[in-house]
């Protein structure tokens, strides 16, 4: 006689938790493996300048309008919130410094990262996932070309190289936007604002900002390509891969940000 046990909610909860943990470990494992394979492939120069330039254009130029809008508006909002109060309290000379440090240390990098993930990361993941489910990746492999080297190299290199450029332009626009907002909201002069910016910024902040941008670019493009490469099961798989790429990239850049903050400022 067979005995059937009714699954309890605790069992279902534990089972769901285990499946999620398994999926997390598996995704992390494949990202690391693809990362190692990508680095191995760099020796073979498996990309052309033309393809690299195209991916740089895609990563850096097409993402710029949305990145600048997000970073610019964030800085305007911050300046609007703090400039009036600081001027009232006699701290008008510190508004520029505050906005600049906020932009260079955090806002420009993290906001640009979010914008890039939404626009470019999702696009990279869905592009490679579509190639995977339509057997284009298999075709590359059968033609004896390493698909990780061929697909990842131009995309990850472009992401790593272009991210600092996007972040620097975004930070400049953010600082400029903060100045305009401070002037309009609290009447703070441009001279006072930019003197404060100049006084507040230092080389260490800029260096960390650039290093962090390189790391963000690498992490976003690698995770996006890896999630795309892991796709299976048709259109549903493409959707899942894209979602996974966005979620993992968001989490990863926050972790990288935390590591940089802990390592460079404390």
């Amino acid at each position: 006689m067979k005995i059937y046990y009714k699954a309890t909610y605790t069992y279902k909860l534990l089972k769901g938790f285990m499946q999620t943990a398994e999926s997390l470990i598996s995704t992390l494992g494949s990202i690391v493996m693809f990362g190692i394979e990508f680095i191995k492939g760099l020796r073979d120069k498996p990309t052309t300048i033309k393809e690299l330039m195209y991916q740089c254009y895609r990563f850096g130029v097409t993402s710029l309008p949305i990145t600048l809008s997000i970073v610019g508006m964030t800085s305007v909002i911050v300046a609007m919130q703090v400039a009036g109060e600081m001027v009232k309290q006699g701290g008008g000379n510190y508004v520029g410094m505050l906005v600049a440090i906020l932009m260079v240390r955090e806002e420009a990098v993290i906001m640009a990262g979010f914008a890039i993930i939404s626009m470019i990361g999702s696009s990279l993941a869905s592009e490679i996932a579509t190639m995977k489910v339509t057997e284009q990746v298999d075709a590359i492999q059968v033609l004896k070309v390493n698909p990780v080297h061929y697909l990842f190299t131009p995309r990850v290199l472009a992401g790593t190289l272009m991210m600092p450029i996007v972040v620097i332009i975004s930070a400049l626009i953010g600082i400029l936007g903060g100045g305009v907002a401070s002037n309009l909201v609290s009447g703070l002069s441009y001279k006072a604002y930019f003197d404060s910016v100049w006084f507040g910024l230092n080389t260490h902040d800029l260096n960390v900002c650039i290093m962090k941008s390189f790391a963000f670019g690498f992490v976003i493009s690698l995770i996006s390509c890896s999630c795309g490469m892991d796709a299976k099961d048709g259109a549903k798989g493409v959707g899942l891969a894209t979602t996974k790429a966005v979620v993992w990239s968001f989490v990863a850049i926050v972790i990288v940000d935390l590591i940089f903050a802990a390592a460079c400022f404390y």
Binding site: P46, A139, I140, L143, K144, V145
Partner: protein, 238 residues
């Protein structure tokens, strides 16, 4: 002989897809693998081409490249026909930089002529019909002069006339390249027009091996059911 498969076993998630499959294909011959959907036909091709790993058994090939024509062509949609066909010559590590642009153009033109599609080098896959895409994928497959060509349902989704054309090109490529070929198909017309021998798979086992004529004589319950396309017989759909 160009391909010899011995005692091939492959499982996915504890389900046995191929159980002890063995066959041989000589140079200049075409083996057609037939069977229900999910019977492991495409898995055989993926194992031979190295896309997936076998659990046990042997795949012995006599050297040279293995080419594969995919069910839905699998052309690279971001590349034009020229770059699709010359992909291996441009990107493969051992071939990269070996050919000048003029040489590549000549090779691509030759391959396109072989599949009856001269002058479409600048077109993108989205601008081609299903039959033309399939023929471009034939040209891409033979660009490195392979010794083995694998076709995964080459006539799937095509109208009868386009299917006939594709079948003719399969035979023509066999004659031109003297390659050993394996054609996975469901269609009797493809078997009759292209195959030198037939292997029928069911539930991971080879249930028939013989010539197309023997298949059509319907001497076993399996071949009878397949040729008559009836639900009554030993093979049950899952």
């Amino acid at each position: 002989m160009s391909i010899e498969v011995k005692n091939l076993v492959k499982s996915f998630d504890k389900k046995v897809i191929l159980d002890n499959i063995s066959f041989k294909v000589d140079d200049g011959k075409i083996l057609s693998i037939v069977g229900f959907s999910g019977s492991g036909k495409s898995t055989v091709l993926k194992l031979i081409s190295g896309l997936i790993e076998k659990d046990s058994g042997e795949v012995i090939t006599t050297g040279g490249d293995i080419a594969m024509v995919f069910q839905y062509s699998a052309l690279f949609d971001s590349l034009n026909v020229f770059d699709n066909i010359s992909f291996a010559l441009q990107e493969r590590k051992d071939l990269r930089g070996k050919y000048t642009r003029k040489e590549l153009e000549k090779i691509v033109a030759e391959k396109l002529e072989l599949v009856g599609l001269s002058g479409i080098e600048d077109k993108f896959p989205s601008e081609l019909s299903g039959g033309m895409q399939k023929r471009v994928s034939f040209a891409r497959a033979i660009v490195t002069e392979p010794k083995i060509i694998l076709y995964d349902e080459p006539t799937a989704g095509l109208d009868p006339i386009s299917s006939t054309l594709i079948e003719d090109y399969i035979v023509r490529l066999k004659n031109e390249t003297n390659a050993a070929s394996i054609v996975v198909t469901h269609q009797m017309s493809t078997i009759r027009r292209t195959a030198d021998s037939v292997l029928m798979l069911y539930n991971g086992h080879a249930v028939f091996e013989g010539s197309p004529d023997e298949l059509c004589r319907e001497e076993t319950p399996y071949t009878r059911q397949f040729v008559e396309a009836t639900l009554d017989g030993p093979m049950k759909m899952n």
